[in-house]
């Protein structure tokens, strides 16, 4: 079964606005990752946050993790048309033998 569930499933915002996507998961984790997928392409890793971290930044990306609520959020600030893509959270546990489990993704559209 899916470990991560993203919310919302689809999001459309104006260029320049901030985009926030949420991810919830079911079991304990060692880290949580966010990936991006442009239409018809493979996934690209964006950022990883460890279970003992609460917030992490990378350029215009800000990720938060609340292990007590089993949830994470990805914030993209000052969105650009090129940010249009699907975004997936993925969870990792040391007991899972290198496998990570992906959520169903949020489809983000940036209107010019």
């Amino acid at each position: 079964s899916q470990q991560g569930e993203e919310d919302p499933q689809a999001l459309s915002i104006q260029e320049g606005e901030n985009a926030t996507m949420n991810c919830s998961y079911k079991t304990s984790i060692n880290n949580l990752q966010w990936y991006r997928q442009n239409s018809g392409r493979g996934l690209v890793h964006l950022i990883l946050i460890r279970s003992n971290e609460r917030e992490k930044h990378s350029g215009r990306l800000r990720v938060t993790l609340d292990t007590s609520k089993k949830s994470s959020s990805l914030l993209i600030t000052a969105s650009r048309a090129a940010d249009t893509a699907s975004y997936f959270c993925a969870t990792f546990r040391y007991s899972s033998a290198s496998k990570i489990i992906f959520g169903s993704g949020t489809r983000l559209s940036i209107r010019p």
Binding site: N31, G40, G42, L43, V44, S98, K99, I100, F102
Partner: protein, 116 residues
């Protein structure tokens, strides 16, 4: 940069055909994965391999087999393709180990397979 190459971007096959999807990575990664991606279902793991000739079933292995004869190459085989195997297939690789950077997965561009 890690490069994961899938042999075909698009494939059209007929029901009952044997189909080979090939994946090659150039970063000496131990782990390799095959996923299928369908609208609304996210990525589902078909098989993964943590070493040459080693394989482990994922969530949806039925109708598929895999081969890993060399460390850099991981093949997905559809023994007798069926229409319900029409999908996007994604290959990925990662390092072995528990350090954080070691479980980041690197993906190929995907193969969109249509079975008619």
């Amino acid at each position: 940069d890690v490069k994961v190459t899938q042999s075909s971007r698009y494939l059209v096959k007929r029901t009952g055909e044997k189909v080979f999807l090939e994946c090659v990575q150039d970063m000496d990664h131990e782990n390799m994965f095959w996923y299928r991606q369908d609208p609304g279902l996210g990525l589902r793991l078909i098989y993964f391999s943590y070493d040459v000739k080693m394989k482990e079933k994922g969530d949806i292995p039925e109708g598929y087999s895999v081969s890993r004869e060399k460390k850099e190459r991981f093949s997905l085989i559809l023994e007798s393709a069926s229409t319900n195997q029409t999908s996007m297939y994604l290959c990925a690789s990662s390092q072995l180990g528990q350090g954080d950077g070691k479980n980041i997965q690197y993906f190929g561009a995907g193969t969109r397979l249509s079975v008619l």
